[in-house]
Amino acid sequence: MKRIETVETRDLKASVKTGGCGECQTSCQSACKTSCGVANQLCEKK
């Protein structure tokens, strides 16, 4: 595409089927302890 470049991302809709194992880190357990989000958590599935 000439004017649009799509950056590679995880397909969230596909993760409905592949996700949900619950093994990932609890968000607030890392550094912040105050202003928690989930976007910077890593998926534990390899």
């Binding site: 595409m1 000439k2 004017r3 649009i4 470049e5 799509t6 950056v7 590679e8 991302t9 995880r10 397909d11 969230l12 809709k13 993760s15 409905v16 592949t18 996700g19 949900g20 619950g22 093994e23 990932c24 880190q25 609890t26 968000s27 607030c28 357990q29 890392s30 550094a31 912040c32 302890k33 105050t34 202003s35 928690c36 989000g37 989930v38 976007a39 910077n40 958590q41 890593l42 998926c43 534990e44």
Partner: protein
Amino acid sequence: MIHQYKLNGYNIVLDVYSGSVHAVDEVAYDMIGMYETHTGDEIVSEMLKKYGDREDVTEADLYECLDDIRSLKDAGKLFTEDEYAGMAFDFKKRSNEIKALCLHVAHTCNLNCSYCFASQGKYHGDRALMSFEVGKRALDFLVESSGSRRNLEVDFFGGEPLMNWQVVKDLVAYARSIEEEKHKNFRFTLTTNGVLVDDEVIDFANREMHNVVMSIDGRPQVHDRFRVDLAGHGSYEKIVPKFLDFAKKRGERDYYVRGTYTHYNTDFTEDIFHLADLGFTQLSMEPVVCAPDDPCALTEEDLPKLFEQYEILAKEMLRREEEGRPITFYHYMIDLTHGPCIYKRISGCGSGTEYLAVTPWGDLYPCHQFVGDEKYLMGNIWDGVTNTALRDEFKLCNVYARHECDNCWARLYCSGGCAANACHATGSITGIYKYGCELFKKRMECAIMMQVAKAVGKK
């Protein structure tokens, strides 16, 4: 839903429900903005008026771009609909498994920071240290409550956990002694102010702690404004050499130097760069959490300055990375290809459900920020969670429970935000801490811009 923004020379389009990210030129940026509300002919006509004097913009080319937008829509990468709303209701049936505990091993502290959310470590109560017996029972409770979850997280928190160091070490030894038999993997985190750090602490922590969080606010005058000892003396000179040694010896293992910024240092990137220039590479800096009438509270007037600071930080991080001296910033660590699944993005931090805080005497609270507020007492480590109504309330505290988030593009990046912040700001855990939302959205825009710059900018 899409979100469009321009930052650092990039035109970025996020597709909220698929998670797709597109870097586009300004013509496609405008066309995507009009796509859902105008016909193709109207869009082309408008673009010819605006860009018609440019050689690269022709009618044929604009129709080709329209085709590209349509194909992205057909492929589920633009203008995707929300198909998750129905799923959120299943969280009522969410399991009661617990996978993380914040162990308050010391409700006391050797510093006297006036901005401390935990009221100098005492959480508005009496000073107390957790006994080994209470800690051991907490670990057993975690194992018993964790079902099939293998990875269990335990954070040694306070107050200052090094004031109860022997118990920390004994609890780690106990956990290691049972993890094979119980088929669990404990990941420990230590959060410390550094005052009692010595070689023995460093060696032990670097052997056993999955992560270490070192509290330091940045420049000497900024750090020492709040982080003073009981006699009122600043702690900067005392802790910096210890933390540098600690970080150096951690090698490849995770750590964060974690600061708090307040109304007094809205130029907080100066503090981040100060820490980076000292030699720390894994950095985190958080807005203060305090009452609005506190003099250190961030104000509406501060917001534009803070937005600018986050942009400065993102650009400087890209520059340092190009120069071969990268630093990481907690909120900018986004992995677009291997980030959280949709379940995580909807359910959020897990407080009050899969994550609980344990007081020195074994009471359970939804998270460390609720400790000391009796309304949020959930049970104890011997009887388990007995306030099941409260647990159910937290189970349903997901992004779809917050109707103020319905039209927010960032909802699947923040999951609706921190329940404690919402509670403090509005009185309800399903409320919205709007100030925090503004900062969060800005951080996400910067973090995604950095990923775009890395993916596209180098080409």
